[in-house]
C-alpha cells in the first residue's frame, strides 16, 4: 500500500466510514477486491474510476445493500447495522420507476420512514420535515406534482430531498450529476457545500473528472482495487488517474493540469 495514503488515514474511531478488507463478488468475478478505506468526518469525497470499477457496489456495500464476501464496514466506530439511521442514500435516479403513482412530497417523506419504524404512519411532523428538505433543493413549489411529470434534474433533486429529510450524518450519493441540467448541477453543488459547512460527510460517485477539484476536497480513486485516497490536491494526479483508468485517460493528460483548469473556469 502507498505510504502517503496511510498518512491521511484518520484513526478508526474518528472516521465517518471505515472499511477494511472489503471484497465483493457477483457470479465468479470480484467487483471489489480487498479495499481499505477511511473517510474522515466532514469531507466532500468523490469516488472516481472507470465503468465497471465497482463504484456503485462500493456505496451499496457501505449501506449493507450487497453482501460482501469478506471485510467489514464501520460507521463512526460501530458496525453499520447499528448506525443505519446515520447513513442517507441517494440512489441513481434511474433505479426506480418514475411512473409510480405518487407525488413529490410523498417520495420525500419516505426519508422519514426509518425514524418512524414499523406500522406508524407519517403525520404532520414528517410532512414539515419533508417540505423543509424540498425547500433546500428549491423543489417546494413542486410538492404536489406527480413524479411522472418531473424532468431528470427535478427527479434528482427529489431524491436529494428524500435523503435530506432523513437528517443523516453521512450522505452516500450515486451519480447525482448524471444527466442533469445546469440549474440542478448548481443546486447540488450548493447543497454539498452547505452539508460540509454543517459538518456532514458526503460521498459522491462522480463521473466528470474535470469538476472533481472544483466540487470536492477528498478523492477516492477506485478500479476494483483501491488506487488512492486522500485530499484532492495531493492525490488527484495524472499518475493516479492513469493507474485507475489505464490508457484511457490519455486525452485528459493533454489538458493537464486538471486542477488549474477547473479553477480558472
Amino acid at each position: 500500500m502507498n505510504g502517503l495514503n496511510e498518512k491521511h488515514k484518520p484513526p478508526r474511531d474518528q472516521a465517518a466510514i471505515w472499511v477494511e478488507d472489503l471484497t465483493v463478488a457477483y457470479q465468479d468475478k470480484p467487483v471489489l477486491w480487498d479495499v481499505d478505506l477511511a473517510i474522515p468526518k466532514g469531507v466532500l469525497m468523490a469516488i472516481v474510476g472507470p465503468n465497471g470499477a465497482g463504484k456503485t457496489t462500493m456505496i451499496k456495500a457501505m449501506l449493507g445493500l450487497v453482501d460482501p464476501v469478506a471485510g467489514r464496514v464501520e460507521v463512526f466506530g460501530k458496525p453499520f447495522r447499528e448506525q443505519r439511521r446515520l447513513l442517507g442514500y441517494v440512489p441513481q435516479r434511474t433505479s426506480v420507476d418514475w411512473d409510480f403513482p405518487t407525488n413529490v412530497l410523498d417520495v420525500v417523506m419516505m426519508g422519514r420512514y426509518g425514524t418512524l419504524g414499523w406500522f406508524r404512519r407519517p403525520g404532520k411532523a414528517e410532512r414539515e420535515k419533508a417540505m423543509h428538505a424540498l425547500e433546500k433543493v428549491a423543489m417546494d413549489p413542486y410538492a404536489d406534482r406527480q413524479i411522472s411529470q418531473l424532468s431528470g434534474g427535478q427527479q434528482q433533486r427529489v431524491f436529494l430531498a428524500r435523503a435530506l429529510a432523513q437528517e443523516a450524518e453521512v450522505y452516500l450519493m450515486d451519480e447525482p450529476f448524471q444527466g442533469v441540467d445546469a440549474t440542478t448541477e448548481r443546486a447540488i453543488v450548493d447543497l454539498l457545500r452547505e452539508l460540509r459547512k454543517q459538518g456532514r460527510t458526503v460521498v459522491v460517485v462522480h463521473h466528470d473528472l474535470q469538476t472533481v477539484p472544483d466540487y470536492f476536497d477528498w478523492v477516492f480513486l477506485l478500479n476494483v482495487r483501491r488506487i488512492a485516497c486522500g485530499p484532492v490536491e495531493t492525490f488527484f494526479t495524472e499518475e493516479n488517474l492513469r493507474l485507475a483508468y489505464g490508457g484511457r485517460v490519455a486525452i485528459l493528460g493533454e489538458r493537464k493540469p486538471i486542477a488549474d483548469d477547473a479553477k480558472s473556469l
Binding site: 445493500l65 439511521r85 409510480f100 419504524g117 411522472s148
Partner: protein, 375 residues
C-alpha cells in the same frame, strides 16, 4: 325481471355474488401492488401452480372440503414462488423464463395428478376439475364466510403495512437503508397475494385467475396517479366485475360465472385504456392530432413570412404551389392555409395566391422569437 329482487330472493345467487365480490375486492387491491412491482405474471404462475396442491391435498386426505383443498393450493402456490426466486437467484435464468418454467412444470404436474385421480375407481373423486375454470355455483355459505374472514385479515394487514408496501413497491433498496427488513415485507406481500389468488380459485379457476389480479389494477392505473386511490379503485373494479359477472351468468343460461367475471373486468380494462382522462388512448390521439395541425399551420405561416421577406411589402402575395414544394404534402398545406385564414392571419389574394395579414406578420414574428429563445 328485477335484478335487485333476484338478489334478495335467490339464495344461491346471493352467495355467488357475495363470494365473487369478495374475491374481486381482494384480488383487485393486491393486484395493484403486483402490477406496480411489474410482477403481474407471478400471479399467473401462482394460480396455475395451485392446481397440483389441490390434487395432492385430495389424494392424501381423500377429503373434498374446500378449506383443505385450498390449503393445498396455497402451499403449492407458495412453493412455486420460492422456486421462482431460487431459480433467479442461483442460475442465470431470467425472471420471465423462470416464471414460464415453474408455471408449466407445476401446471403439467397438476393436470397429470388430476387425470390420475379421476381414473381411480373411487366414487368421491368428481368435482376437482372445477378448479380449472372455476364453478361459482359450488360456493357454499361456509366458503364465503371463510373468504370474508381471510379477506378481512388481508385488508387489515394491508392497512397496517401500507407504508412498508409502498416503500417495497417504489424503492426496495432505499427501504433497506431505512432499516426495514425488505425481504420480510416482500414475504408478507407475496403471502397476501397467494391468499387472494387461492380465494378466487373456486370461482374463477386456476387458468383465468391471473386476469383478476392484473386487469382491475391495469384499469385503475389509467384513472389515477395516487397509490391509495389506485388500490381502492382496483378493488371497486374487482367487486363490480364479480357482481356483474355473477348476475349475468345467472340470467343467461349456460353462461359460466368465472369466465363471465373475467369478460366483465376485461370490458372495464378496454374502456379505461381508451377513455380514461389524461392516460386514455383516445384523448392522447386527439391531442396529438391537434398538436400536429397546429405545428403544421405554424410552419406554413413561417414559410410565408420567409418568402415575404424577399419583398419590400411583407403582405406581398405568394402562390400556395410554392408552399407545397416547401411542405411536400399539398392537402396539409391547403388545410393549414384554411385554418390560418380562419384566424385571419392570412388572406387569399386570388389565383392560388396567399398573403400575410398584419396580424399574421405579428404572429410569425412572435413565433420566430420563441424559437430563437428556445435555441
Amino acid at each position: 325481471m328485477n335484478i335487485l329482487t333476484d338478489i334478495n330472493f335467490d339464495y344461491t345467487l346471493r352467495i355467488v355474488a357475495l363470494g365473487s365480490a369478495i374475491l374481486g375486492a381482494l384480488s383487485g387491491a393486491l393486484g395493484a401492488f403486483a402490477v406496480l412491482r411489474k410482477q403481474s405474471l407471478i400471479g399467473d404462475t401462482i394460480s396455475h401452480a395451485a392446481l397440483p396442491g389441490i390434487a395432492v391435498a385430495f389424494f392424501f386426505t381423500g377429503n373434498k372440503t374446500t378449506t383443505i383443498l385450498l390449503i393445498g393450493a396455497a402451499l403449492s402456490g407458495w412453493l412455486a414462488t420460492l422456486f421462482i426466486l431460487g431459480i433467479v437467484k442461483a442460475t442465470r435464468i431470467k425472471l420471465d423464463s423462470a416464471l414460464g418454467l415453474v408455471l408449466s412444470v407445476f401446471f403439467g404436474f397438476g393436470l397429470v395428478m388430476l387425470t390420475f385421480i379421476q381414473k381411480r375407481p373411487d366414487a368421491n373423486q368428481a368435482g376437482l376439475e372445477k378448479f380449472l375454470f372455476g364453478q361459482a355455483a359450488t360456493l357454499l355459505a361456509a366458503d364465503v364466510q371463510m373468504m370474508a374472514i381471510l379477506a378481512g385479515v388481508a385488508v387489515l394487514a394491508l392497512m397496517l403495512l401500507w407504508k412498508e408496501f409502498k416503500l417495497l413497491s417504489f424503492d426496495e433498496d432505499f427501504g433497506a437503508t431505512q432499516g426495514f427488513a425488505m425481504n420480510r415485507i416482500n414475504l408478507m406481500l407475496t403471502t397476501l397475494l397467494v391468499v387472494a389468488i387461492v380465494l378466487g380459485l373456486q370461482t374463477v379457476g386456476v387458468v383465468l385467475m391471473s386476469a383478476m389480479i392484473v386487469a382491475p389494477a391495469a384499469a385503475a392505473r389509467q384513472w389515477t396517479d395516487k397509490l391509495s386511490t389506485m388500490v381502492l379503485l382496483s378493488a371497486v373494479f374487482g367487486v363490480a366485475a364479480g357482481v356483474s359477472g355473477s348476475l349475468l351468468s345467472s340470467r343467461i343460461p349456460k353462461l359460466p360465472t368465472g369466465p363471465t367475471i373475467v369478460l366483465c373486468i376485461s370490458t372495464v380494462v378496454l374502456f379505461s385504456i381508451f377513455v380514461a382522462p389524461a392516460r386514455g388512448l383516445l384523448w392522447r390521439w386527439l391531442r396529438r392530432r391537434r398538436n400536429r395541425r397546429q405545428f403544421r399551420a405554424e410552419a406554413v405561416l413561417l414559410d410565408l413570412m420567409d418568402m415575404a421577406r424577399h419583398h419590400p411589402n411583407l403582405e406581398h402575395p405568394h402562390a400556395a404551389a410554392v408552399l407545397h414544394t416547401l411542405n411536400l404534402d399539398g392537402r396539409a398545406v391547403r388545410n393549414s392555409l384554411a385554418e390560418l385564414a380562419e384566424r385571419e392571419l392570412v388572406r387569399p389574394a386570388g389565383a392560388g395566391l396567399w398573403s400575410l395579414t398584419q396580424a399574421g406578420i405579428a404572429e410569425a414574428q412572435q413565433l420566430e422569437r420563441r424559437f430563437q429563445a428556445e435555441d
